[in-house]
């Protein structure tokens, strides 16, 4: 019994201090959890006839805190709250594992839920195609595409490669001559984005190209130390190192240059004669069989959100391009991308039978 008392008292003290700190910040922000009852008048102005959503949503980032998915869904939750478009709590949980596959399996157990919303990007297609997840995007309810990020190919500042064409020429002569590093596992996003570009540049031996996967975020250190020749990564991930001149970006995968400052100086693949783009699109997905009233509410709400100044400010801050796409377009987009990735994976032998 004694321990219980102690447990309780220590828990209470945490709660107390927590409350203190919360009230401390309350003066700076509006409120971290708007009361659903008091502000329901503002939400009733929306086209929704029913009073959905009534209770807290379940927002899920399929990766650990701090990654791209996490950042996206937390930003969405923040903007929806700040703009009062949604007035129920939207706590974000991290359900990581299997490159998103664990959450995909979890979503199957929540079939028909009107609460669950998760963020995904190309890996939702790739993990199914390469066989690491038995579920595909078809076992979810795509709601809307929101933004895209782009890929970048960077080299150390003293690299012999001055343009992406140099790299491709070297690969054409000897596919083993350039060692490609990336942060995702083989057959997942960083790898595929490089291969799509290499294929468009006319490199034929895609299978022979050495892709070296560095997980736990050590890939950037490896390129800085010159242990690999080229890093395939996200444009935003190496921004500060490009600005400081420690790394040189040979190309970005957007169709027109995006970003500001140093990022805007990176030439696109297209400018360098490789007619290809790669988009790291991100969109929101509900549980399979999400009820129509919920789907309609979120389609409508997200469309409104993407038109707000708050959302656009956040987008610019993170260097995300607007890529809003409503449910139907998004679904056909997903089907199209699925075929494209399938082709590349088949070519390198990573397509699951």
């Amino acid at each position: 019994m004694k321990l219980n008392k102690k447990l309780i008292s220590s828990m209470l003290s945490v709660a107390l201090i927590g409350a203190l700190a919360l009230s401390g910040c309350a003066s700076q922000s509006s409120s971290s959890e708007p009361a659903a009852s008091s502000s329901s008048t503002s939400s009733s102005s929306s086209s929704e006839s029913t009073d959905y959503p009534k209770s807290a949503m379940e927002f899920i980032a399929p990766s650990g805190a701090g990654g791209g998915w996490d950042l996206t869904i937390r930003t969405v939750a923040k903007v929806l709250q700040d703009t009062s478009l949604v007035n129920v709590p939207m706590p974000v949980t991290n359900n990581s594992g299997g490159g998103g596959g664990v959450n995909l399996a979890y979503m199957q157990t929540q079939e028909g839920s009107d609460k669950l919303i998760s963020v995904y990007s190309p890996p939702i297609l790739l993990i199914n195609l390469n066989g690491s997840s038995e579920y595909s995007y078809k076992e979810t309810t795509p709601i809307a595409r929101l933004i895209t990020d782009y890929g970048a190919f960077v080299v150390p500042k003293d690299s012999p490669y001055k343009s992406i064409a140099d790299v491709m020429d070297a690969l054409k002569k000897d596919p083993k001559s350039v060692k490609i590093g990336g942060g995702s596992s083989a057959g997942s996003m960083d790898h595929i984005q490089f291969l799509i570009v290499a294929k468009a540049a006319g490199v034929t031996d895609l299978k022979e190209i050495d892709y070296i996967s560095f997980q736990d975020g050590t890939a950037t250190a490896q390129i800085l130390g010159g242990h690999v020749d080229l890093l395939t990564t996200g444009l935003g991930d190496v921004q500060s190192l490009i600005e400081s001149g420690d790394l040189i970006a040979l190309a970005q995968t957007a169709s027109d240059r995006v970003g500001e400052g140093a990022l805007a100086e990176i030439p696109t693949c297209k400018e360098q004669g490789i007619d290809v783009t790669f988009e790291n699109w991100r969109g929101l997905f509900g549980a399979p069989g999400m009820p129509d009233y919920a789907v309609d509410f979120w389609r409508d709400t997200l469309k409104k959100m993407t038109e707000t100044d708050e959302w656009n400010a956040e987008r610019t801050k993170h260097g995300w391009a607007d890529a809003y796409m409503d449910k139907e377009d998004f679904e056909s987009f997903l089907a199209e991308k699925n075929e494209e990735y399938k082709g590349i994976l088949a070519e390198i032998g990573l397509l699951a039978e």
Partner: protein
């Protein structure tokens, strides 16, 4: 001089009452989160994420940093008192910390752990200010080949120091490495040893292994004690402090372990567990009576504690100087900074000096606050020892399960936990050491990947492992770590014979 004035500006920021309150709040939360099995600093920091969005970047960062050090202080509390490390970095604290508590020296154990943590943390901040850039440059020299050799060095050190015999230490290491091969192979995308279970694709989390071997193992052992009606280890408690003799014994090991921990912590992906185990092994080798280690030798607790806190400060270097997360916890903190519109990286110190220096100064303040808060907290916690085992161990069991669920929200981990609990019980019976196995599970994944990365870069040639001077130095350390204890032992034998 400019550095000093910037640092003092930072100090002024950190010492504002509002920030001081946040540091304390973070520290206390971190200490508690760190004590619970399965929950580590990364969880603690993630919990704070939504709260920090409404704060200024400086306030957010110092709160999270408070949680981080708090967890480093707290992780070893449960190691000492119930032989259950809160996370990997607190593993080494069980070796001598728990025996100390069983010998009735829980007060000294808790005190030295706080003192060593404090000194290790504080000195490391000085290192951070003076040496951040050169250390970051040094860390970049570690390519896949060097990482592989570093892991080999750490593993062979730990295996060779195992009590009893070295052969069993190596068997435990190999077994741990085998466990680490479960999951999707990152280099080829092929699932290995997953038996078609989705949850196994990400591998077996080392925390589940630790909780199983230690928490469950401890509960199983306690049944015997309960049945035999063994007495409660301690009823009366003294002041949480150490004696003069204990201080004279430990100050030098603390100072030796700090730089080691700092450098290992600065290597992205290496971390506190490796740092603390290496420090422990070092001190055992330096010691005149290595046989006392594992039986409640205070040096064996002080050294890893200092190294572990030094490593947590070192882990900030890659983040602050390069924008690369050095550990799981700093990865979450980087995410928080991005949300607040700050890009960590080489330009952080010039673009946002207030944030960078505020953080560094908060580490100094945080260390003081934690040392002050922790000593009275330890005075309360030590009373766990007076709780009846019949009640205590079911509670430990309950916490072990909820902690496991917190790691990946999966019940599949419960079965893994149970398997390792039973395994730990038998390993104890046949005298196979668990520490080398746990370290192997932790570093195994990186070790194999580094090996494959290195050989892929070298087109299959093993020459890459002897190419750089750093690689050769690491090989030398490995050889010494295996050969030295053997020579030392045979010398001691010869001496004993001649006398």
């Amino acid at each position: 001089m400019e550095v000093l004035s910037l640092f003092f500006d930072g100090l002024l920021t950190a010492i504002q009452p509002y920030h001081l309150l946040l540091i304390t709040f973070g520290g206390v939360l971190g200490t508690i989160v760190g004590m619970l099995p399965g929950l580590g600093p990364a969880t603690g920091v993630a919990v704070l994420l939504p709260i920090t969005f409404s704060m200024s970047p400086t306030a957010a960062l110092i709160t999270m940093a408070g949680v981080y050090y708090g967890a480093m202080f707290g992780g070893s509390r449960s190691s000492i008192l119930i032989n259950t490390p809160g996370d990997g970095a607190a593993l080494a604290a069980t070796f001598d910390g728990y025996p100390m508590a069983m010998n009735g020296k829980a007060e000294s154990a808790l005190a030295i752990s706080a003192i060593a943590s404090f000194i290790g943390g504080l000195i490391s901040v000085v290192f951070l200010i003076a040496l951040a850039t050169p250390v970051a440059k040094f860390a970049l020299k570690f390519g896949p080949a060097e990482y592989f050799l570093l892991m080999v060095a750490a593993l062979s050190m730990t295996a060779s120091m195992s009590k009893g015999n070295m052969v069993k230490g190596f068997i435990a290491t190999l077994f741990g490495l085998m466990i680490s091969t479960v999951g999707i192979d990152a280099q080829s995308g092929i699932p290995r040893f997953t038996f078609g279970i989705l949850e196994l694709q990400t591998g077996i989390d080392f925390l589940v292994v630790i909780i199983g071997l230690y928490a469950l193992g401890e509960v199983f052992k306690a049944f015997k004690a309960i049945n035999e009606g063994k007495k409660i280890p301690q009823k009366k408690f003294g002041r949480i402090w150490i004696s003069k003799e204990e201080w004279q014994k430990t100050w030098l090991p603390i100072l030796r372990s700090t730089p080691l921990g700092f450098v290992v912590g600065a290597l992205p992906g290496a971390g506190g567990t490796m740092a603390s185990l290496m420090a422990y092994n070092n001190e055992k080798q330096f010691s005149n009576n290595p046989d006392d280690f594992g039986k409640g030798e205070i040096v064996g607790l002080a050294a890893p504690e200092a190294a572990n806190n030094a490593a947590s400060v070192g882990a900030f270097i890659p983040m602050l100087t390069l924008g690369i997360p050095g550990s799981g916890t700093t990865a979450v903190m980087m995410g928080a900074l991005l949300m607040l519109g700050i890009q960590p990286g080489p330009l952080l110190f010039t673009q946002h000096p207030d944030v960078a220096w505020g953080l560094i100064a908060s580490m100094v303040i945080g260390n003081f606050v934690l040392a002050i808060v922790n000593i009275p907290m330890a005075g309360l916690l030590v009373r766990v020892l007076s709780v009846d085992a019949k009640i205590l161990y079911p509670i430990v069991l309950g916490l072990a399960f909820v902690g496991t669920y917190a790691i990946s929200s999966s019940v599949v981990d419960f079965f893994i936990l149970i398997i390792f609990g039973v395994l730990g019980y038998f390993m104890d019976k046949i005298k196979i050491p668990t520490a080398p196995m746990i370290l192997a599970v932790i570093v195994g994944g990186t070790m194999e990947q580094s090996f494959r990365q290195a050989t892929r870069i070298s087109n299959g040639s093993l020459g890459i492992f002897v190419e750089s001077p750093l690689a050769l130095a690491l090989i030398a350390i490995t050889v010494i770590s295996v050969v030295y204890p053997a020579i030392k032992a045979s010398l001691a034998k010869r001496k004993a014979k001649t006398v």
